[in-house]
Symmetry: D2
Subunit: 337 residues, 4 copies
């Protein structure tokens, strides 16, 4: 019974159907195909604003290419200390920018607060001797399974823009946040002030498809060249765009996110006071301690240690295709602990 990651999931039937549908006839390569050409319109409708959208194969590519359009080699990206870009991408933002650093902000539940951001920006006077703060990187949902409210995002983006920073959002689990908040996708992106979004589909039912979505379309040309130069312009783009179109237009994004959120909350409730953070997406963090960890693993549950094995902390993630009986079994087991 695997609760390791939503990356362990399969592709939804809608995705394989989309591939089959796109598999018709010779089509121009490198994004000139009919599917990719429709992507801007599809995502503009989805977000309620004119956007430019580009498919890439991985979330790391989406994040780092976005950040590289915002950040020179001497820039510094402000991010939560739990951010995926800081801990799980092997230094990708540094590589894509030619050297930029990530400044780690600490605050509870994986969410940067305006106060913490302001303090970080005030802490050291910027001069030619220091790295230059150029980007704020937010994750929605966060790495700890929580979701920023629209007004929280608005405050953060306002502050960032006032200080000359652009805002990137890592939306690897964007659908989960939107589903939890029950809001319009525009409310937690451009209306709040986000400049670029990594819009993830892979973790929520696609084979492999992420879109980089530009609300600030001035950044697009630079992005397109960086994407090509880093090997992320896909020759047969149609197979990626077709997934993204189906993901949005069939409503799969919301169906899957609602399902995994609901199951995650069920697990969260069963965990009682072992629960470390509010469950506002499809991840559950539990302070199990060594004994209970061992007991659960003996019972056949797979999950990750969080931070280090010594911490006793753990992460469970619900995939869109998680078997409901496995979730039931987990809840029961947690109840027994």
């Amino acid at each position: 019974m695997r609760f390791l990651s939503d990356n362990t999931g399969t592709a939804a039937p809608e995705m394989l159907a989309a591939l089959t549908e796109a598999n018709q006839g010779l089509a121009p390569a490198y994004g000139s195909d009919p599917w990719t050409r429709r992507l801007d319109d599809c995502l503009s409708a989805y977000f309620g604003a004119q956007v430019r959208a580009f498919p890439v194969a991985t979330g790391t590519a989406a994040n780092s290419l976005s950040l590289a359009t915002l950040t020179p080699s001497y820039g510094v990206i402000l991010a939560h200390e739990e951010a995926h870009i800081a801990n799980d991408e092997c230094g990708a933002p540094g590589f894509f920018t030619g050297g930029a650093q990530i400044a780690l902000l600490q605050s509870p539940d994986g969410k940067i607060t305006s106060r913490v951001l302001a303090e970080a920006l005030d802490a050291q006077p910027v001069s030619v001797h220091t790295t230059q703060p150029t980007a704020l990187a937010l994750s929605q949902a966060t790495e700890l399974g929580t979701s920023y409210r629209p007004d929280e995002l608005t405050s953060l983006c306002k502050l960032a823009h006032e200080r000359g920073l652009k805002v990137h959002m890592d939306g690897a689990r964007f659908a989960n946040a939107a589903a939890f908040l029950n809001c319009h996708p525009g409310d937690i992106t451009w209306r709040a002030g986000v400049d670029v979004l990594s819009f993830g589909a892979t973790k929520n039912g696609a084979l492999t498809a992420e879109a980089v979505v530009f609300f600030d379309t001035n950044l697009v040309r630079d992005f397109e060249l960086r994407r090509k130069q880093s090997g992320h312009l896909l020759s047969k783009s149609r197979y990626f765009s077709a997934q993204l179109l189906a993901y949005v237009e069939s409503g799969l994004w919301l169906r899957n996110a609602r399902k995994t959120n609901t199951l995650a909350q069920k697990i969260g409730r069963a965990a009682g006071d072992m629960l470390m953070h509010p469950v506002e997406a499809n991840e559950i963090f539990l302070a199990l301690g060594q004994e209970r960890k061992q007991a659960l693993r003996k019972s056949g549950f797979e999950f990750y240690d969080w931070n280090s094995a010594a911490s006793g902390q753990t992460r469970f993630v619900v995939s869109w295709d998680q078997r409901e009986e496995d979730v039931g079994a987990l809840c029961e087991a947690l109840g027994r602990l």
Copy 2:
């Protein structure tokens, strides 16, 4: 009737079947899935040597990540002036290596000769003031649709190794070369001295799948970290590995390459003395001139200008799913010119 590129082709039924077969149950992400774990064995059998193989989504990624394991920022990569890495990848090798340059070698039919290589290496004394020659990059089949013979490769690799260079092979159309030469895949890779191969499947029937194949396995750890840092470690790797397994194990690689080679040769014969280079893969280069170009386009044929529109030179590429009647029509039209 599109003869623009083999990138315009669809995915073969074997590929979609492989995706469906891989779409079963939760599987560990990032290459720990059963399909990816089988890739080394599959490609070791294919090449007749112990190799390490890694799926990536694009040929540019395969080439540049390979080259980055061979070349520091102060290195120089020797390549034919028509090489894809030099002309069609937006400077990717420079980016992945942090600055390395490409030295362009000129020789007929897209094939570097040992003499040309030796002359280039002798031309300028290497010192701390110059870039350092560290890699020889070969394309097989070449960008001009020709194929190196095994003994040509052996001479080139021997010379390169004597001078301290490692050898990379861009095998975006590797299957076409192997099919044309009717040789064992090992004969034009490790037996000849190639250190790393970009083994392409996308142009020859896959949706999107390339493998980086290391014959020199010392380079692997550096590669794995570079792959992750550049956003090319695929979370749901199974869908890429499954394509590669099916591509090799079903014999699709050879079936498709033989078909496209045969059709290309038919076109080559029809072109008579307009033919610019021997047809030894699935590409045909024709010196049409402006009038004949126009005539063919009026008749509904799509193809690329080569070099510039003013040159009158053109490139036709046969896809694995090219309709045979379209090839027939093209041959007829060429005969009429």
Copy 3:
């Protein structure tokens, strides 16, 4: 009365004499001159070990070039949160390595302890998803004016090497540490396990001269090419090497360091409990608060706020050519506060 930085100082007469002496006749460029050729022997004698030494013009160059020989783009450098490389070099290590990050360690008085280092290395399991710890960067004297004892360095280097990290030492104020500790230069470098040292002379009486000193001479060829590629190979190297030779051979390094250390300790004693850190070099950190800061500045003393103006913390640095009466005046003023 300037206590802003030792960078504000002039060049010692010994340095100008050395330039004049080196200014004789045509000499081969780029380090083949007699002065530079003597540098290895001079510094081998100084350190009591066979070293390779190279002049560069700035401390940032010395630090970053050293670190780039130790750290790939996917590496992470562990350093104290107050380190010059982290705060005062505009992200230079990230640029020179093509993306490496700096992990900031917190511990009192600017000195990393073995416990803090061990905890940092244990905190997160290293995998292909994380940056790879490859270098430990120490400053001697530290950025807070303290000095590591030889046994502290030995423990740190031993731990670093056990974990596969190489050790760099930023010795912008190396002479001050050696003078304070009254030890042999070898005791706080290679005998303790340091692999590469930035040996600074600029802050201690040179016009502009730093040496990169390799105790691990395997790193030298890579360094030489990186130095040239980054524009740090000086054409008329003789003028930099001549300074370094005179700095070491005339005993200037020790004379000046002893003088500035003594004056700094005098100031430290006058400061009483405003003193924030032990005075073990030529820097004094004082918690003055806003009022006393203002009073001192009104009296004509120039010094830097530390961290931010709001902190009330300040830094005073003694230059080798600081007027003793100014130090006396400062001590008196501090006594009055």
Copy 4:
């Protein structure tokens, strides 16, 4: 009798005097000193236009930092195939830009012609797949000892600007070109359309001092941060700025250039038809062949082979402090050959 390079020369007395004069009292570091603050005015007067000027220690730094402000990682710099940036800087432009390539243009006597530039820009259609032409790099005087006339520069810059390229000039021997052309420094820089200049003093009598001069001052902030990040902001900048001020204001630049030009022309005349290029600066290129090379070396003359030893071609350079009797001896020896 060394004719190896102007880098072998000593520093002129004016330069040592300037250092001594600058060696007075504590002065703010990192360019806030009185000498550096006067540099903009000094060079604005020299060029007859409002410029921003910055001292750096090497020509490679000046060139690459300039180019990095003009060229992203996916850019391509067009330069003559003999350019110093292409052959003698270990790939520095690639490193500073994070990957940009140099396209080599061929034309006689080291001078790019407008026709050659136009053809290069027309040769390949620019797309997202190609590197993007962003900068034209000219050398004045050229690497082959010739000098562009003002109208040649005007045509080149006009063409470059029309195509969206910025223009950099490598003026390592700028004074020699200006002296030969007997023109105002503005005539061969901003009036012709140059955007950034590497203004060299080291080869013409300084110890070590180059200025980066921006005619397009929009590039300045990016430059300043890149300079710091690459370790080229000099802490005791005063010693570099003082040299530059004295170099310009004392007329040393012109005196030395006139002298070396005159001696070079004398050698050129003595060489008769061995002379390979017009002598329009302080370099002389001679097709000596192996026997005459050997004869000259036996007679005690030192000079470099050009291209390779096998070529029989050679380069002689006159330093500002070259002994006139050595030049006389060389002329005589050449006459005898």
